[in-house]
Amino acid sequence: MGLSSVQPESTTVSSVSPNWVTTRLDFLTNWARSNSLWPMPFGTACCAIEYMATAASRFDIARFGMERQSFSPRQADVLICAGRLPFKLAPVIRRIWDQMPQPKWAISMGACASSGGIFDNYAMVQGIDTIIPVDVYVPGCPPRPEGLIYGIRLLQKKIMGESIDNDLLREEKLVGPTGLFLPAERVDELSEPFGNSVHQTRTS
């Protein structure tokens, strides 16, 4: 008895590598999704320069699975709005968002995309979350590449917490019969002036 009695056959059995693993389906799906996010860049201003730096070799978001910039919304997973969004581009980003297949996420990069930034005027959307649903807001004017990468990592963390069983996550939030995807009061509330711009009234 003892170790000396172990037959060669038994070691052969244990050295066969298993061709299956056990895991949770949610974990596997989220792991795959979060590590192969294909971004749809929607760059309109200086944030797009930082976005380009993030994608280029020094910062290299390919390290986080964003290997391929998807310039077609139909092959994209995450819309990155980098820069201010004028009202004239609102129907454009909305159409791009509608063309992206589920699952899809959106990152609002920088102060202007998130809130209108310094452009509290007649021509500018006061935060793209009045046009499309947004998952992660990256602050900064413009954010440094590290900031955007942090936002992307946050999005990956968020995706890891999702469940494929939850249909609400994959629900399309379309523009409704009111012509908006949010209630009108909500759009007004989101667009409220803040900071220095509260000193400017609507009539002056």
């Binding site: 009202f87 004239k88 609102a90 129907p91 454009v92 909305r94 159409r95 509290d120 005027n121 007649y122 021509a123 959307v125 006061q126 009045t130 046009i131 523009v175 009111t178 012509g179 908006l180 009108a184 009061e185 759009v187 007004d188 989101l190 667009s191 002036p193 400017q200 609507r202 009539t203 002056s204």
Partner: protein, 209 residues
């Protein structure tokens, strides 16, 4: 002769001789000569400046407009001219009474480069350029209905609520930025006569006759 007359453009004296009272006044500002032309004769003045042998202002640098905070003061349409052969500049202004319809004759027939410049002035100030071949908004979308954003009575954030602005923006068709003329040319390109195809390939625009 006033003190500023030494830097006055040499074009002013022949302009006065040619057009008399149609040259309402002249001024020198920061070394640039400004000529105020009467609205009715403005097109003649500009045509003369472009073609007269001693003037040859063959390049239209810019067309823009100014509205002053003083509500009594007239709105001015500004033409910045440049003579490439003579290396000389001249600014011509046309004052428009704000109580009357803001109308001035287009200079598109003199300088085709005025096309988009006049469209921008129309878009931002509401000045109508009569005779312009394609007077549409250029910066704001074509169904924009809040008014003319650079006018003084226009509130910074616009007239409508943000929700209404967002609703109207989302309702706009992002592809509706081409004129019927541009679209018809694109569709009919293969059926055009060869000389017109060549002109279009060179980037020239014109009317389909």
């Amino acid at each position: 002769m006033t003190a500023g007359a030494s830097s006055m453009s040499p074009s002013v004296a022949p302009l006065r001789a040619e057009f008399g009272d149609a040259i309402e006044r002249t001024a020198v500002s920061c070394g640039d000569t400004i000529v105020y032309a009467a609205r009715e004769r403005a097109h003649d003045v500009l045509a003369w400046l472009k073609d007269a042998p001693g003037q040859r202002f063959n390049y239209l640098t810019d067309v823009t407009a100014v509205e002053y905070r003083d509500p009594e003061r007239q709105l001015e349409v500004v033409y910045q001219l440049r003579s490439l052969p003579r290396r000389a500049d001249l600014r011509v202004k046309v004052a428009l009474d704000k109580r009357a319809p803001l109308e001035v004759r287009s200079v598109w027939d003199l300088w085709h480069g005025a096309d988009w410049l006049e469209r921008e002035v129309y878009d931002m100030f509401g000045v109508v350029f009569t005779g312009h071949p394609d007077l549409r908004r250029i910066l704001m979308w074509e169904t924009y209905s809040e008014g003319y954003p650079l006018r003084k009575e226009f509130p910074l954030r616009g007239h409508f609520s943000r929700a209404e602005q967002t609703r109207q923006a989302l309702a706009a068709n992002p592809e509706a930025h081409y004129s019927m003329e541009e679209l018809s040319i694109a569709e009919a390109f293969d059926e055009l006569p060869s000389d017109m195809r060549e002109r279009l390939a060179r980037g020239e625009r014109g009317f389909l006759k």
